[in-house]
Amino acid sequence: MIPILGLAAGVLLGLLFDPTVPLWLQPYLPIAVVAALDAVFGGFRARLDRIFDAKVFVISFVSNVVVAALIVFLGDQLGVGAQLSTAVVVVLGIRIFGNAAAIRRHVFRA
């Protein structure tokens, strides 16, 4: 319940305040969001699997975001930022799809 509430509140706050993303953060924010979404899907799946662990969730959430941002940052430094962020999004997307499939199996038994 807490994650759903947090998500809803966060979306509401974001729409309400509508802050400007600082320039240095702009390349990383979308990647970070996708990485965090992956962590949330993983957590949801773990909950359905009844192996959810708050500590694991928090650490995976933070490390996902940090690693994704780091990869993009490294890519930018190497001059392949666009390609690496595409790669990160693709990998995270695959993971999200895999987790979503597991969740689907739990929810719909199919």
Binding site: G14, L15, V40, G42
Partner: protein, 252 residues
């Protein structure tokens, strides 16, 4: 209980075996719950902000270096094209303006030329230095050929335009009639014949007075000729303008 292979996130850590199994919703403390709440709140916040930012036209600020370079190149080339267009238009404007002034100059020149031609053909009054030639002819010695000779002599000596007894002499002036009843362009002229001639007075007088010339031949047959140079003479008789009926200007 799960049939899937390894879960893909690190979330699938095995439950700590030491602890007694509890329902999953009891397994986290209030601190962990708060942390999860904060993290998901951050996620929602970032999500909304990112969506908003992508919505609004700040795509450029978030674009990567190579994209920016491409966009910059596009903008630069478009600016280049626009600058070339401006240069073309400026050149066209300059050309139009200069051709305008050129045609104004040409018009002025044409007016000047029309005036000169009007003086020469006799359609405009003329003023300038010249001489007055008076032929007193009591006995009707002035024949058509004499008058014609006089006019030709004056022309040959550089007379630019002239009038005889108030009749302007032009290119197509006809001399007809009988001695004593001469007609110039069909209009009668009577003695004393008064020629008003515009041209170099000295040259013309010299030409008139050469042996065997006009003055000698006329005085030899009883007429008296008086030539006076004038610094300023007005030739005010005009001829009607003649439109050529057959000849047209060659524009080439």
């Amino acid at each position: 209980m799960t049939t899937t292979p390894e879960p893909e996130g690190a979330e699938a850590a095995p439950p700590p075996p030491a602890r007694p199994r509890r329902p999953w919703w009891r397994r986290r403390g209030p601190r962990a719950g708060a942390l999860i709440g904060v993290l998901t709140l951050l996620l929602g916040f970032a999500l909304a902000v990112q969506v908003r930012n992508t919505d609004t036209d700040q795509v450029l600020a978030g674009a990567r270096e190579e994209d920016l370079v491409r966009i910059l190149e596009e903008v630069t080339s478009r600016g280049q094209r626009l600058r070339e267009q401006i240069a073309d238009e400026r050149a066209a404007l300059r050309q139009l303006t200069s051709s305008d002034s050129r045609s104004a100059g040409a018009l002025e020149e044409a007016r000047l030329r029309a005036d000169e031609l009007g003086v020469l053909t006799g359609t405009l009054p003329a003023v300038g230095p010249g001489l007055r030639l008076t032929v007193r002819d009591a006995g009707g010695t002035m024949r058509v050929t004499d008058l014609l000779d006089t006019i030709q002599e004056l022309r040959g000596a550089g007379a630019e335009t002239m009038q005889v007894d108030g009749v302007r002499v032009g290119l197509s002036t006809a001399v007809t009639g009988q001695p004593g009843a001469l007609l110039l362009d069909g209009r009668p002229i009577t003695a004393p014949y008064e020629f008003l001639v515009l041209g170099d007075p000295q040259n013309i007088e010299t030409a008139l007075n050469i042996p065997g010339g006009v003055v000698q031949s006329l005085t030899g047959r009883g007429a008296s000729v008086v030539v006076t140079q004038e610094a300023e003479l007005l030739v005010d008789a005009v001829r009607p303008r003649e439109e050529p009926r057959y000849a047209a200007p060659d524009d080439d």
